[in-house]
């Protein structure tokens, strides 16, 4: 397999163009000032703090994705300091190593400036050392702040994640007053009741010098041999990790990276392609294109078509790379992989609730937990669970064709459609996996009224659980493909050659679908913990020869035989629609005329057309057929036809530049149910009653909405 993926470093002259050119400055010196003063993400490397920290830890300095001539100059300085810091005899109580001289006399006023010719100041090194003492005491809880007011405590707590986000907790002692030093100074001044001006002068120095301790003698640290990242990373089940430790390192590092990415959010345009919102808006955004940053590729999500799964696989890959890069920058493991949320494991009832780390408002590093999101459904942040209906995989794994070439359903993976067409109508339908569990879980987690982040295309990826949910969907695609030898991905070039591009500038990821069909292979290189590295021969060979293989050619066309009278409103209570059936006059006519029931070769489909609404009332509705009058649908599980999710109904009902306003159309294969009814003499060839039962939320309630089905129709094929 050829790897055409754009590496992190773009070809010369191209990689940074979109990103840096969008900034207010263009020249090297000006760009330096801009990065230092305005962009927290770049301050780390330009301050020299983080390289210094890495040097102390004996870590090799990673290649910066934003390499520039100015960056190179700064790195040279950082390297020079690193060398001198390691040299024996360069340290002393009155001398900060690598800072160009001893500290003596009256401490000067020091603060952060935007000058580009900042030389290393040993007094800054001294201050950084003392601020590290303060930070350590803060962390250990031994620091007694003079100012004990709630506001001050909250301020100090709120500052700590910012330090962490830029890799400056503790500060790197590089003798340059950078962003990290500035934040720590603010924290210190707040704690001591001083004016919070981020300047260390005649009031702050005495307080700071009171913490004076002898400078530690650096001991040469042997450079550990580089640990190569494994060829195949393993995506682990988040609930398995949580069972061992709710803040398992894999989860904790994810939280830290999310916090760092969120710290890069700079409204209103979120221009940094590594910021949390920039990544999220790629999926969907409510911002008009005129407000997007230069070069942004936003509102790209592929839904209701066969591109749904490959698009999201590449999206996750892009996201995972950025997160892993961030984790490495923060000092975490280089082989980190995105966990998945397997909510369908019926042997573990806990897994249907959100993992604890995503529900807690606090976290080990202090401050607000980056994984917590308040805009979720009722009780989802406490004891709420997803019902078994929502996480059921039966329908998805009963489907054999990824995209049937004939027949009106979306199969397992969705209907055939051009990239980004979002046509709506019968030609644009979800596959079963996109409906259930994918769509149901989205709205169940996000909530329906009002819709939370996970409930809408444009906000879903802002919730940190989104990525674990989609990792699970990606896993289920792989599991489905391996579950039967004859379950194959489409072979059409229109599907295989679809190209997906994410990010901007040097973070760009470009891949075609054909490059990501096997996640174990480069450029992806991951597998799921519950799947063997290579499928066993038994798993590959298992196949039911009696299965219909729907994608091998065009069979009999579907023929409409009846529709409902007008539209059907889906309310908080059970709704019913009657479909009057006529006799087929097309290719299925002879088969049906020869039989009084349903012949073996005839398939029956139920299509729910133009499902629209502006306010959804549930995560989805379960559809039953011919439930007896007065009967409870739940008492007739054998008459369950399928599930209609509400995810995407609001968006596809809008008449905008992304959607046609036609709403969703879903076709359910009801052959099995119809045949069972026919066998028991309860299939009436003249009519069928369709019952819609809303799925209650975690509190057992169903809200009020305005969703309606434009037409319910029945097809024979």
């Amino acid at each position: 397999m050829s790897e055409l993926e754009t590496p992190w470093a773009e070809p010369e002259g191209h990689g940074q163009a979109e990103w840096f050119d969008s900034g207010p400055f263009a020249s090297g010196a000006e760009r330096l000032a801009w990065q230092q003063d305005e962009q927290p993400w770049s301050a780390e490397s330009l301050d020299g703090d983080a390289p210094a920290a890495r040097a102390r830890a004996g870590e090799p300095r990673p290649a910066s994705p934003f390499e520039t001539p100015v960056q190179g100059f700064i790195d040279t300085l950082a390297g020079a300091w690193t060398d001198s810091a390691r040299s024996p005899g360069a340290e002393g109580e009155s001398e900060v190593p690598g800072c160009g001289g001893p500290v003596a006399g009256t401490p000067p006023l020091i603060y952060r400036t935007s000058r580009t010719d900042r030389s290393r100041n040993p007094w800054v090194g001294k201050a950084q050392t003392l601020l590290n003492v303060f930070l350590a005491q803060q962390k250990a809880g031994t620091e007694q702040c003079t100012d004990q007011t709630t506001g001050t405590r909250q301020f100090v707590v709120a500052m700590r994640p910012k330090l962490l986000a830029i890799g400056q907790d503790p500060l790197g002692v590089d003798c340059i007053f950078g962003e990290g030093t500035e934040i720590a100074t603010l924290m210190f001044q707040a704690c001591r009741g001083l004016l919070r001006d981020a300047k260390i002068g005649e009031k702050t120095w005495p307080e700071l010098l009171a913490l004076d301790v002898p400078l530690p003698t650096p001991t040469p640290t042997p450079t550990p041999p580089p640990v190569p990242a494994p060829a195949i990373r393993v995506r682990e089940d988040v609930w398995t990790l949580s069972a061992a430790n709710p803040w398992h390192p894999t989860i904790l590092w994810y939280a830290r990276a999310v916090g760092a990415l969120k710290a890069r959010n700079v409204p209103p345009s979120f221009a940094d392609p590594r910021s949390w919102r920039h990544l999220a808006e790629t999926h969907g955004t409510s911002m008009p294109p005129s407000a997007w940053p230069s070069g942004a590729r936003w509102r790209q999500c592929e839904h209701n078509s066969w591109h749904f799964m490959p698009w999201h696989r590449v999206y996750l890959h892009h996201f995972e790379r950025i997160v892993r890069d961030e984790i490495a920058r923060l000092g975490g493991p280089a082989d980190w992989a995105l966990p998945f949320w397997d909510y369908s494991d019926t042997s573990r009832p806990d897994v249907t609730s959100l993992p604890p780390a995503f529900r807690s408002t606090s976290w080990p590093d202090g401050g607000t937990n980056p994984l917590f999101e308040s805009a979720r459904g009722p009780d989802m942040n406490t004891t709420g669970r997803l019902s078994s209906t929502i996480v059921d995989l039966t329908d998805a794994f009963a489907e054999n064709a990824f995209t049937p070439s004939s027949g009106p359903t979306g199969g397992f993976g969705g209907t055939r459609a051009p990239v980004g067409s979002h046509r709506g109508g019968p030609a644009s339908q979800m596959g079963v996996l996109e409906r259930i569990p994918h769509g149901l879980v989205h709205v169940a987690v996000g909530g329906d009224s009002p819709p939370g982040l996970m409930s809408l295309f444009e906000t879903a990826a802002q919730d940190p659980i989104f990525w674990l949910h989609h990792a699970n969907i990606d896993r289920l695609w792989e599991a489905w493909r391996r579950s039967r030898a004859r379950r194959r991905n489409p072979s059409s070039r229109a599907w295989l050659d679809a190209q997906w591009t994410f990010g901007a500038g040097s973070t760009t990821t470009t891949l075609r679908t054909r490059q990501v069909l096997d996640p174990r292979q480069p450029p992806l290189g991951y597998r799921y913990s519950d799947m063997p590295v290579t499928p066993t021969p038994e798993a590959e060979a298992v196949g039911d020869e009696s299965e219909r293989v729907e994608d091998e050619g065009e069979g009999r066309p579907p023929e409409l035989v009846g529709t409902s009278e007008g539209e059907v409103a889906l309310g908080a209570a059970v709704s019913t629609a009657r479909v009057r059936l006529g006799r087929p006059s097309g290719p299925a006519r002879e088969l049906l005329e020869e039989s009084r029931g349903l012949p073996k070769d005839v398939q029956v489909f139920l299509r729910l057309e133009n499902v629209t609404g502006t306010r959804v009332h549930t995560s989805g509705v379960v559809v039953f057929l011919n439930v007896p009058p007065g009967g409870r649908p739940a008492d007739f599980p054998d008459r369950r036809a399928g599930v209609l999710p509400m995810f995407g109904v609001i968006e596809t009902s809008r008449r905008d530049d992304t959607h046609s306003g036609s709403g969703q159309t879903t076709t359910l294969d009801i052959t099995r149910v119809a045949r069972a009814l026919a066998t028991s003499g309860q299939w009436d060839p003249a009519k069928v009653d369709v019952t819609f039962v809303p799925i209650p939320d975690a509190r057992g309630r169903v809200q009020q909405g305005d969703v309606k089905v434009g037409r319910v129709s029945v097809f024979y094929a």
């Binding site: 008009p288 294109p289 590729r297 004939s406 009106p408 459609a417 051009p418 990239v419 980004g420 067409s421 979002h422 046509r423 709506g424 109508g425 019968p426 030609a427 219909r548 293989v549 091998e552 050619g553 065009e554 069979g555 009999r556 066309p557 579907p558 023929e559 409409l560 035989v561 009846g562 529709t563 539209e567 006529g582 087929p584 006059s585 097309g586 290719p587 070769d601 057309e609 133009n610 008449r655 905008d656 530049d657 992304t658 959607h659 046609s660 306003g661 036609s662 159309t665 434009g710 037409r711 129709s713």
Partner: protein, 249 residues
């Protein structure tokens, strides 16, 4: 069970949109045949007046706009009773092409009034600028999406016919709003080559073969072709090669 029907049966079963393809092909045949004896028509169109304007507009609508609704026609046929499939398709096409014929004739008459004042090349340049600006606008994308919208239709009776005609007119109106600059520019430039290029562009953008982000560059390429054709026609006329009078198709 996998069936292997006759190819024609297969087309009948699975591709009822063949009707729209035949209509479009007929339109192309009608507008192309005169070029066999008059090659200058490749660059410039013949003059038409009176009822002939409507006839020309109808042919252009069939040729250029027929291919744009293949997917709509497929969906419509599949959402109709088997015995009414082609009736529904014809009713839909009548509404859709009827609207385009009226709009196309109006465009021709408007161009007839303007062309003598401006000349074809400046007019094509101005309209081309409109095409490029409009191609990247949110309004253009919104109308493009609406072109493929569907709605529930009545199943039987005269209401079913009415729904199909109305659906054709609705689609046509969205298409007019999405494509009027291209149509005007193509008509102003005239000639079969630009007509074909315009059709290919409209088909590609309507079917999603051109992504939204690439619409403007492709529109620019189309405009360049239209301007070049207008310049070529102008050069030929200046060199003494006889050309038919220009008023659009």
């Amino acid at each position: 069970m996998t069936l292997a029907p006759h190819p024609l049966t297969r087309v009948h079963w699975h591709h009822p949109e063949w009707v729209a393809m035949v209509v479009a092909a007929s339109g192309w045949l009608a507008v192309s045949v005169p070029a066999a004896t008059e090659p200058a028509l490749l660059l410039r169109s013949v003059h038409a007046s009176g009822v002939a304007v409507l006839a020309h507009a109808a042919l252009m609508a069939a040729a250029m706009m027929g291919p744009l609704v293949l997917a709509n026609v497929h969906d419509l046929a599949g959402s109709s009773l088997w015995r009414r499939r082609y009736r529904a398709v014809l009713a839909y096409l009548a509404g859709y092409l009827g609207l385009w014929t009226v709009v196309g004739a109006a465009m021709m008459l408007a161009l007839d009034a303007v062309l003598p004042i401006t000349g074809p090349v400046p007019l094509v340049v101005v309209l081309g600028a409109v095409v490029v600006l409009f191609a990247g606008s949110a309004a253009h994308r919104r109308h493009l999406r609406r072109c493929s919208a569907t709605r529930p239709l009545v199943l039987t009776g005269w209401r079913a016919d009415r729904d199909c005609v109305e659906e054709g007119i609705r689609t046509g109106w969205q298409c007019v709003q999405a494509s009027w600059p291209v149509m005007l520019a193509v008509m102003a430039s005239g000639g079969l080559l630009v007509l074909a290029a315009g059709t290919a562009y409209l088909f590609a953008e309507r079917s999603g073969r051109i992504r939204d982000q690439r619409l403007t560059p492709w529109a620019l390429a189309l405009v360049e072709a239209a301007v070049l054709a207008a310049l070529a026609a102008h050069a030929l006329s200046m060199s003494g090669v006889p050309l038919p009078a220009h008023t659009g198709h």
